[in-house]
Structure formats: C-alpha cells, structure tokens
C-alpha cells in the first residue's frame, strides 16, 4: 500500500488551505472529507464578509469555498469526499486510517497527519435549558442548514439565546426571510459576537440585544409556544423575580462552539483545556509528533480567513523537515488571557515570524500586551480595546533568543 506523505482530515477552510499549500512539491497528499462536497460549514454561510484578509475582497461563504477549491486544481492532491474516518492508529511512525465510503471500507496510510476537523455547536441541554421538550429549539447552525440548504423556514417568531456570531447572522437571516426575531439574549454582560456583526445584523435591523439575560424555561408539549427569560447577576445566576414570558415558536441557540477532537483523542493528543483544542508548537504540530492541528479544531476563530491561515501554517510545517524529540517551551499566559496559540515553542524549529493568536478573558481598555522571552520584549502592542470575542493576532521573531528559558505573554495598563 502506498503511503501518503500527508493526510489532511477535513475539507473545510482549514483543510482546503492546508491541502493547497502543499502544492509544488513532489509529496503525495490525500484530503479526506466526510460530506459530498468540499467547503465544510462555508456551504451554508451565504452571508458575506469572507475573504477580507485572504483575498482582499468581500465574499460569501460558498464563494470563499469556491476560491479555496480552485486553488487545489492542477495540484497533486488526491481528494476523497463522502469518506468518513472511523479509526486512526499509529504504527512505526506511520498513521493507519480506516475510512468508510460509499464503496466500502478502505485503509490508507500517511506519514503526517493534519487534523482539520472543525467544531460543533454547544446544545441547549449543555447550557441546561429546562422545561418541556418541544420542537422549535435548535442550534443556530441547524437553523442555518434548514434555511440555506433545504430552503425551509424553521421558525416564524423566535428568541435567540447567545450573541455568538452565528446567532447574530441568523437573526438577520430570519428577519430577511420574513420571520420575527424578538431579541437576542446574552447571559454575559458583554456581547459574544464581533462588533461588525452586532452592527450589521442587529442594529441595522433594529433587533434588540439584551445583555445579562438568559432563557430559564421553555414551554409547549408540541411545538414551542414560549420561553421565560430573566436577568442574571454578575455571577450569571438568575435573579428571582425578573422572569418575563415571551410567546415564540422558536428558540435559536448560539451558545458556543466546541472544537471537535475525537480523532485527536484516538491518537492520545493532549488537549488544552483553555482552547479545547490540542496543545501545539509554532508549526501547529501537536504534542504527538507528526500530528498537526488547524482551523476551528485547534481553536475557534472569528473569521474563515484566520482558519485558512492556520491551515497554511500547519501544512508548511508538515512539509518541512521532521524535528524529532522537540524541546518545547510552554508560553505562560496568565488569567487575563483566555488563551494563546501556539501554546508552546519548539526550540529546534524555525522561530522567525511566528504567528500568535490570543483572546482576552474579559473586556479591557488601554492595555499593552507584551511577549517577553527570557524577560526581553519580543513583541509589544498598545490596544485601545480588547474584547473576548475579537481574536488578536501578532507576529514575532523569536530566533535571536538563545537559549530560550521562558516565554511570557503579559498585559499591563498602557502609559
């Protein structure tokens, strides 16, 4: 059996970018996608705003996917769609994958593996929605599939819980299709979505956003007939007596995305509890050598362009020469930060122009963020605002520090 130099699992924006980056070498590559078409979730994201950094254009999701698929043309990439990986094991530095396809069970082997498996939505039960169990309670992504792929209307009059980006996008989408969105309710005291989505999806359509409020109960034995919403205190506990009843036939949930790493877990890849994705070095190689992680499986990004970027980084690094027995230095980021990616720096790998992504844990104003290597400033930037929903990105050169003893990401008040 031929052994692929690289196998990419997942044909969404991360996997596509990884596969197309691999071009121009004589290496063999296999891209595995479980759905019938490439593009991942982009297929159902018919709104615009994609490609602003990668293509300097405003594209819709399907258009962005088309561009990415176009990049693959003429390349040495073998593509398998409707192929579902059921098993991964590693034997003597070779990954053995079992796939189920419409023709049967197939086994493939690869020397390196990029996991671009995306994320899934947190469900109503995972945020402890209680009451009856009617139809009409669904995640924003499911609602989006019903509307944009099946052309069906999942609600006429709804409440949206959670101000994550898909929730905001769906608020606009449902409104455009003639449904009535009563409001977006967010349990936190600050919105979870990007500012541009708050403006373009809610403000432009006069859809109210209620902060520090949540849904406490759902009603209806058949279709949903209403929900109770209530205010919450600073610790997100419901304030008794503030409950209000709202008649509605839909409750759309946009309560968070969770990286899907069941495949990484099969390979015992250690998972970072802060990102829910694998710990990785600057080449997005996980702590299991030869296994790379990118896209929303690594950490949930705000925009597809950044997802693509991680695919490119992972592929470039998977292309590079193998660095056995990496020496990894962990990047120390205190609780002001939600997380930083990469989580580690591999000393032996190129340390030039490393791209870092971070999110803050809470909204901040006038802060200076520094990356200190052995106590020296490797990066410094002043931020007027820092918000958890907006992922920050910077580049730093760590090649001049020898030996690296400590790497710390700090945040201090700007002078």
């Amino acid at each position: 059996m031929a052994i692929y130099d690289l196998i990419v699992i997942g044909g969404g924006p991360a996997g596509l970018a990884a596969a197309s980056t691999y071009n121009g070498t004589d290496k063999s590559i296999l891209l595995i996608e479980r759905e019938a078409q490439l593009g991942g979730i982009l297929k159902q994201c018919i709104h615009d705003g994609f490609g602003l950094t990668r293509y300097k254009e405003k594209l819709s999701g399907p258009e962005y996917a088309e561009r990415e698929i176009e990049l693959l043309k003429g390349h040495q990439v073998e593509i398998r769609t409707l192929a579902f990986v059921t098993k991964i094991a590693r034997e003597n530095d070779v990954f053995h994958l079992t796939m189920v396809t419409r023709t049967g069970i197939e086994h493939v082997q690869g020397r390196r593996l990029i996991l671009a498996t995306g994320c899934r939505e947190r469900t109503g039960k995972q945020v402890a929605i209680h009451g009856t169990n009617p139809s009409g309670v669904l995640t924003a992504g499911s609602a989006q599939y019903y509307m944009n792929i099946l052309g069906q209307m999942p609600t006429k009059r709804c409440v949206i819980l959670g101000s994550g980006d898909i929730g905001l996008i769906m608020a606009r989408r449902i409104t455009l299709e003639g449904g009535h969105v009563i409001g977006v309710y967010e349990i936190k005291s600050t919105p979870s979505g990007l500012t541009r989505n708050l403006v373009q999806c809610l403000d432009d359509f006069a859809i109210p956003l209620y902060l520090s409020m949540t849904v406490t109960k759902v009603y209806g034995h058949e279709r949903l007939i209403g929900v109770d919403v209530a205010k919450v205190d600073e610790r997100m506990r419901v304030i008794i007596g503030t409950e209000q009843h709202i008649d509605c036939d839909g409750l759309i949930l946009s309560v968070g995305l969770l990286p899907e790493n069941e495949m990484a877990e099969q390979l015992s890849v250690p998972i970072n509890n802060r990102t829910k994705g694998p710990y990785v070095d600057q080449g997005l190689e996980t702590l299991v050598s030869g296994v790379y992680s990118c896209g929303n499986a690594l950490h949930v990004s705000d925009v597809a362009d950044m997802v693509s970027e991680t695919g490119v980084i992972a592929a470039k690094s998977a292309l590079g020469i193998e660095v056995p027995n990496r020496t990894l230095v962990e990047i120390n980021a205190n609780n002001d930060f939600l997380y930083v990616v990469p989580s580690h720096i591999a000393i032996e790998k190129s340390r030039k122009d490393i791209i870092f992504y971070f999110r803050v844990a809470a909204c901040q104003e006038n802060k200076t963020v520094r990356l200190l290597v052995n106590g020296h400033k490797a990066f410094e930037r002043k931020y007027k605002h820092l918000r958890p929903p907006e992922m920050e990105r910077f580049q730093a050169d760590l090649s001049k520090y020898e030996p690296i003893e400590s790497i710390v990401l700090t945040m201090e008040d700007s002078e």
Binding site: T103, T155, H180
Partner: protein
C-alpha cells in the same frame, strides 16, 4: 368482602387526619372524596387508605382550584379503524402492552394494539434506566417480587430472539461504612429468601479492582450476578416489530376515548379513529390505566403519578464510571422513595452513562418537563459513589412518570365487575424486568376469559432481526452491506457513526415511524454528543425524500412537534 370493622377504622383515622374527607365503600373498595388544597395530602390520604387491605383504593379527592389536564391525544379524527372487530384489544404500547401483544401473537387470534402516541414506548417504557433488577429490596409477598423473579431468567433468551443487546455484568450495592458490615449477613439472608442467585460479598480490594472508578470511601459491596441492563425503548420497539411480523395490528395515534359497557361486558371501545369491537380488552395504559379501568366500569385502584428525572452522559465519561449498575446503600430512612428503585450510575448498552432517577409525586400524568434542581440533585446524590463523573459530562436529560398505585404493587388480574377486561396496571419499577412473565400470565387470563384453549399460530416466528448496526460489524461484514447498498457507506450521524442506509432501513421496519426521534430511537442517529445538531436536518431531509412527507409535516417526536413552519400563503411576524 372487606371487614366492616376495618372500614370503620379506616374512616375514623382518615377523618381524624383529614376532617373534610368523605370515605365510602364500593363493594370492597375504599372510595375517598373531597376537595383538598394541598396535593401531598391527597397522596397521603391514598397511602393511608391503602393500609387497610381493602379491595382497592379509589382516590377521587380533587385539588382545590386545579383544572385537571386532559390526556394529550393526537388531533387526528378519522375512521381508519372504525368497525374493527378483534379477539383482543390491548390499550397501551409500552413494555407491558407490546410484551403481551407479542405473547398473544403465538396464538391464532385477531389482536389489535392501540397507542395514543406516534410511536411505541414514548412514556415510562423509554423514560427509565433500563436496569434488569434482581429484586433484593422487594417484599416477597408482592406481585412485583413474583413477576420479577419469574422474569429475570427470561431476558437472555428474549434478547437473543429479538436481536437486542443485553448486558449482564451484575449489579452492585456499595457500602461506605465499616460498622454496617453485619448488614451483609442480612442481605445474604434476604437474597436466599428471594431465591436470588450469584450473590457475592466483595471487599474493598476486590471492588476497587473490578470498579476502579467507585469512590475510595467504599468499604465493601454486595454483588448480584443476575443484574443486567437493556435498552428499554429498543426492547419495546423490537417486541412491537416481532408482534407485527406475527400478525398483530398496531394502531398508532389511536387514543381510547370511551367504552360502552352493558351488563359487565365491554361492547365497544371508542377511539379518535373509529369504534373497535373487541371480545377482550387488556388494560396496559400505564399512568392512564385507572382512567381506562373507569371507562370499563372496573376501577378499583388509583394511579398517583411519580416523576423521575435522569441524565445521560457522554460516552467519554464511561471510562470514569462503573461498568455495572451501581448504587450506594443509604439505609431505609425514606420509605416513600423506596417504592422506586434507588437508581444510581448505570452504563447503558450503547456505551453512555446514565444517572438517576429522582422521585417526586406529581398531579400531572404527562408532565415530562425537567428542571435544573433535579439534575443537581442527581449529581449530589451519586457523587459519593462515582466521584469522577461531572455535570459537564451531561449530553441530555429527560423525565418519566411512574404509574404507581397506593398499594404500590402491580395489578395483574381480570376485571372485578366487568368480565372481559384484564388489567396489567400499576406497573412501575421493576415493570421492565417483570414484563416477560407478566405477559405470559396475561395470556393465561385471556384463555380463561376466552373459555377455550387458544388456537396456536402455526406461523409464529419468535425471531426478529434488528436493523444492522454497521459500526459494530467486522470490516468484512460491513463491506458486504456497503457493496450491496452504498448508502450503508455514507455516514450521516457523525457522533454515533450512523449511515444513510441504516436510517432508510429504520423507515422500512415492520413498525415504521417517520419522525426524527423515531429514527433516533431505532438507529441512534442524533443520540450523540451533538444531539442531532449536525444530523437533525439531514435526517429530516432523508425522511422527506423517502416518505414524500412535506417538510412541515415531519415531527420531532410527538404529534404536532413540527420542525418546519409552513411557508405557503402566510405572513410572518405573528404566531
């Protein structure tokens, strides 16, 4: 007859406790009337009345200012089954109704099973923990004990015949205190008296070696080898499938709304889908069994619904939990709660972990709503047994309603006043375990009412073949299925790895239920950690393509649980 002095005593103590109660007799049954302003008092009065060994308690006490919720039935009104004549009409397609239906299908009888819901096992039979109990906590003079012990040994064969999973790794009761060690001897004696076999006492070392995730505080445990676990709804679905294959008619969305009884004989049974004319009626109506008895002019018991909430955990939590159903011994402090099995941490046959149930008296017979407190309670309660499972492992939760009588025992008998009704009522835990032998005895009662030996169905085939579960097959077998039908190689539910072929196969079962949950309960599409977030719309699409049902008429589960709003000729913005 009920001893008059006992009636006097009952009346005296009930009126002392509840001054505005009216106690009367109907033959040998105690009848309670009145209007109370606290529901718990109504239940307490029922329990008090049950202590006097009368022929039954008919508790008709009303709750002040409470409008009783009518039984929820399908809005369909047609004549689909109008004029149906049958030998036996079974009311209710839970574990009891379907077990009886399958048992009756061994005979050449015209058997009809009516169920008001869109699928079988939508009430208590799916809303439980699936444990096959050994019955250590049951009094030996109860029908619960009798039928449980008769049934325990029947499940292996039943599971083989129906092609359903049955795990029999035993059941554990864990003890955390050294000083109650002498209790072990009592348990041993209790087990012997109940003819429970394979009982062992495990010391701490053995226990932690077998079940390393059990709390370090455990001192010892008692192990019951007979204890097992099934998937309750899958079992009921399989029983219904097999009954249909052997000639039983199953009528879904068919609710019994009334009966015509003349001179102690049910002449006709009215439903929303026409009038049925049965020779014999079997009451397996669960929480509504007292209502059905009343329609048959044969009520001598009362159901007081008792709700239980359970949570299902991610398969990932299984490695941090127990491989056997396990509960902590908590003494005999709360007798009332003892009427329902203690519950605990239970591995499911599908690899999840289930914890539960709670037990709360409720006036509502179909209130399956859940609340955060109940879930918190479950974790609170089981933390000392299984400390490594957490609320963050929960992927879903549900509530069920137990059909408890005040006597807290099963009712398996012919009618008291109406001669052609047979009751299989008051079935709560351990009803799932007890069902196989209950069904056999009900058939014997049918024969008695029939007054002649039942003719055999020579074509009866006890074997039912399940829909293949491809992810459990060897690669060669899986390949064979896919080569024959490529749909078996197209995965639709990613969490549970379920193919399009399996979903289509589920739609073509003897009992086909084209709802999202109908599919989910048959092949597990949507049972995983994303809870159908990804596959829900895809399954809806497959149902639409296969059945040609319009999108806005595909239900999540029950009737009216539409997923899609109609778009034709309507203005949005208003409900």
């Amino acid at each position: 007859m009920f001893d008059p002095s006992k009636f006097e005593k009952a009346t005296k103590s009930l009126t002392e406790r509840f001054p505005n109660i009216a106690v009367s007799l109907k033959d040998d049954c105690l009848v309670l009337d009145g209007v109370f302003d606290v529901y718990e008092d109504i239940v307490e009065a029922g329990f008090m009345a049950a202590k006097y060994d009368s022929g039954g308690v008919i508790n008709r006490i009303k709750l002040l200012n409470h409008q009783e919720t009518p039984m929820r039935i399908s809005p369909i009104i047609d004549a689909k089954y109008d004029g149906t004549r049958c030998d036996v009409l079974i009311i209710g397609a839970g574990i009891i109704g379907t077990s009886i239906a399958r048992e009756l299908s061994r005979y050449d009888l015209n058997t009809v099973l009516v169920e008001k819901e869109t699928d079988v096992a939508l009430h208590a039979s799916s809303r439980n923990d699936g444990v096959i109990h050994v019955g250590i906590d049951l009094k030996v003079d109860t029908l619960k004990h009798h039928y449980l012990r008769k049934s325990v040994g029947m499940y292996r064969q039943l599971a083989d015949e129906l092609d359903i999973p049955f795990m029999q790794k035993g059941q554990l009761i864990v003890f955390s205190k050294k000083w109650i060690r002498p209790l072990m001897l009592i348990f041993k004696r209790m087990s012997k008296k109940r003819e429970i076999i394979g009982v062992e006492i495990w010391n701490r070392e053995k226990l932690l070696q077998e079940e390393p995730n059990i709390s370090q505080e455990a001192e010892f445990a008692i192990f019951f080898a007979e204890g097992g676990i099934i998937c309750p709804y899958e079992t009921v679905i399989a029983l219904a499938d097999n009954a249909i294959e052997n000639g039983v008619t199953v009528c879904l969305e068919t609710a019994v709304t009334g009966m015509k009884v003349i001179d102690g004989t049910i002449q006709e049974v009215n439903t929303n889908r026409g009038t049925i004319y049965p020779r014999i009626v079997i009451n397996a109506a669960g929480t509504f069994s007292d209502r059905v008895a009343a329609m048959a002019e044969d009520q001598f018991f009362t159901i007081h619904p008792r709700k239980g909430v359970e949570a299902i955990l991610d398969k990932k939590a299984a490695v941090r939990s127990s491989t056997r159903s396990v509960s902590m011994y908590r003494g005999s402090s709360d007798r009332r709660k003892d009427h329902s099995k203690g519950g605990g941490g239970i591995p499911t046959v599908d690899g999840n972990v289930l914890i539960g149930p709670t037990a709360v008296e409720t006036i509502e017979r179909e209130d399956f709503s859940t609340d955060a407190d109940s879930i918190a309670q479950l974790f609170e309660r089981h933390r000392d047994t299984l400390p490594n499972i957490h609320p963050s492992d929960v992927i879903t939760y549900f509530a069920g309603i137990r059909a408890a009588t005040y006597e807290e025992d099963f009712i398996i008998r012919k009618g008291k006043w109406t001669h052609n009704i047979i009751h299989a009522a008051g079935i709560q835990s351990p009803g799932l375990t007890a069902a196989p032998s209950i069904a056999k005895d009900i058939v014997a009662l049918v024969e008695e009412v029939y007054q002649s030996p039942l003719p055999l169905n020579i074509d009866f085939d006890p074997k039912r073949k399940a829909t293949p579960r491809l992810n459990q097959l060897s690669e060669d077998e899986r390949q064979k299925y896919i080569s024959a039908n490529p749909d078996f190689g197209q995965i639709v539910c990613r969490c549970e790895e379920i193919s399009k072929g399996e979903i289509i196969a589920a739609l073509n079962r003897p009992l086909s239920v084209p709802t999202l949950d109908g599919i989910k309960r048959r092949v597990r599409a949507g049972m995983g950690r994303c809870q159908g977030g990804f596959c829900g719309p895809l399954v809806t699409q497959i149902i639409h393509e296969q059945t040609k049902l319009p999108y806005d008429q595909i239900f999540k589960k029950g009737h009216g649980q539409v997923l899609i709003r109609p778009t034709k000729g309507e203005t949005y913005g208003h409900l």
